[in-house]
């Protein structure tokens, strides 16, 4: 092309196309970066798995030691028919999140039930819902023995009764 003739029509549109492509790519790259910016790499939240001492430290019933720090109740029971462990003494880790809308129920030892203050859902010690609007039982978490003999609760793995998951090997820790 002779420079004195100026750009050709085809050359102009070619350049225009490249310019728009670069501009739009830049906008989308910046937009994707802005969205990614909203998701931090480090969370300052309690870890999802934690050690909870040895089973012999727990008496039969509901233990609330890890409620405020890890949102978990550790329950020791002589028998757990709901997970097919009738007559097998052991422990399970119950989620403290109400299955209705996510509030935190209170353990009422006198009535032997968990009672949610938000909308009145009630759960048995097993986690089974029996009153109020909650549509399903509380969830259980993976509970195993760590190498050092301590209880290890792992909230990455949850077990739901309505999906028949409470019978899983690591949903219940025989003691």
């Amino acid at each position: 092309m002779n420079p004195e003739e100026g750009p050709t029509r085809r050359g102009f549109f070619g350049n225009l196309f490249v310019a728009w492509a670069i501009f739009l790519a830049g906008v989308h790259f910046a937009g994707a970066g802005a969205v990614r910016f909203l998701f931090p790499n480090v969370l300052f939240e309690p870890p999802l798995s934690f050690k909870a001492g040895v089973p012999s430290a727990y008496a039969e019933g509901v233990d609330e030691s890890f409620k405020s720090s890890h949102a978990v109740w550790l329950v020791r029971t002589l028998s757990d028919p709901l997970s097919d462990r009738t007559g097998i003494e052991g422990m399970y880790a119950l989620s403290t999140t109400c299955t209705h809308l996510g509030c935190i129920p209170n353990w009422q030892s006198a009535d032997v039930k968990f009672k949610c203050p938000c909308h009145g859902s009630g759960f048995r010690m097993s986690g089974m819902n029996f009153e109020g609007p909650a549509p399903r039982p509380l969830e259980r978490f993976r509970i195993v023995r760590a190498d050092d003999g301590q209880i290890l609760v792992d909230k990455n793995q949850k077990y739901q009764w309505e999906k028949n998951q409470w019978t899983s090997a690591e949903a219940y820790l025989p003691v």
Binding site: L101, G102, C118
Partner: protein
């Protein structure tokens, strides 16, 4: 030449107002058209358009309440710190330790009234058929403004950081779990995966983006504060300018075309 004429003849005056006294139809039109605020409004209003029984003035009241919320909100920002250490105590202090402790109540009640007024405005527009062509675009702008009002109300709900606030936002944001594709309990959440690694988890879904955490905590408070004080009012202001301008362009307030 009287004093009025002398002032109107100065360069300062004439640099601001580029028209004569609004005593002629032409100058009246120029007064509206050459003013950035007034040009959003129609030059002339129909008699029916300003009848209270016809419009309920609900759009105007909503705008008035938005201005009230902006002014009281900016004043509250001088005292409020959006961190879990300070937020609740600062809200109490606004009432107990600051002159005109009613300022926060003004902001709160104004917010309730704004939600009410914006719904009634929508009802009125529906009842008078003012959503019909050529106003259908402005109806859509109005729907987005309604959503923004509700989002402003929702984000402001968290800021006192009391039990009601935390659990209301917990319940409200749990709905985002069920969002299709990008909520970790929603339909199709497992479709977005690379090999065995699921990309939509409690720590990466849309709810997490809203709360900056797996539960309502310090990150959520700060995020809601920024959305409440900056992002949503900014977008609402832009859309309100479009909304008012389109009222004029689409044939004035309500009334038959």
């Amino acid at each position: 030449m009287g004093l009025k004429e002398k002032i109107a003849d100065t360069q300062i005056w004439r640099s601001i107002f580029r028209h004569g006294y609004p005593s002629t139809p032409r100058n009246r039109a120029l007064a509206a058209l050459s003013n950035v605020f007034l040009h959003l409004h129609p030059v002339k209003a129909r008699k029916s358009g300003i009848k209270l029984s016809f419009t309920w003035c609900m759009g105007g009241i909503t705008f008035f309440l938005f201005l009230l919320e902006t002014i009281t909100g900016v004043l509250l920002m001088f005292y409020y710190r959006p961190t879990i250490e300070y937020a609740y105590n600062d809200v109490i202090a606004m009432r107990e330790h600051v002159p005109f402790g009613i300022m926060r109540e003004l902001h709160r009640w104004g917010a309730h009234m704004m939600v009410l007024a914006v719904w009634l405005h929508m009802l009125r527009v529906f009842l008078t058929g003012s959503y019909k062509p050529p106003r259908e675009f402005n109806w859509n702008v109005g729907v987005i403004l309604l959503l923004l009002t509700l989002l402003l109300s929702f984000t402001g709900y968290l800021l006192p950081w009391d039990q009601l606030a935390i659990w209301a936002i917990t319940v409200g944001s749990n709905m985002a779990r069920a969002h299709p594709l990008i909520g970790h309990e929603g339909p199709g959440a497992s479709l977005l995966a690379v090999g065995d690694v699921n990309l939509v988890t409690p720590a990466s879904d849309i709810r997490f983006g809203l709360l900056a955490g797996r539960f309502v905590g310090a990150g959520a408070l700060l995020r809601f504060y920024v959305l409440h004080c900056v992002a949503f009012p900014l977008v609402a202001s832009l859309l309100m300018a479009v909304h008012f301008w389109r009222v004029r362009k689409d044939g004035g307030i309500s009334g038959p075309m």
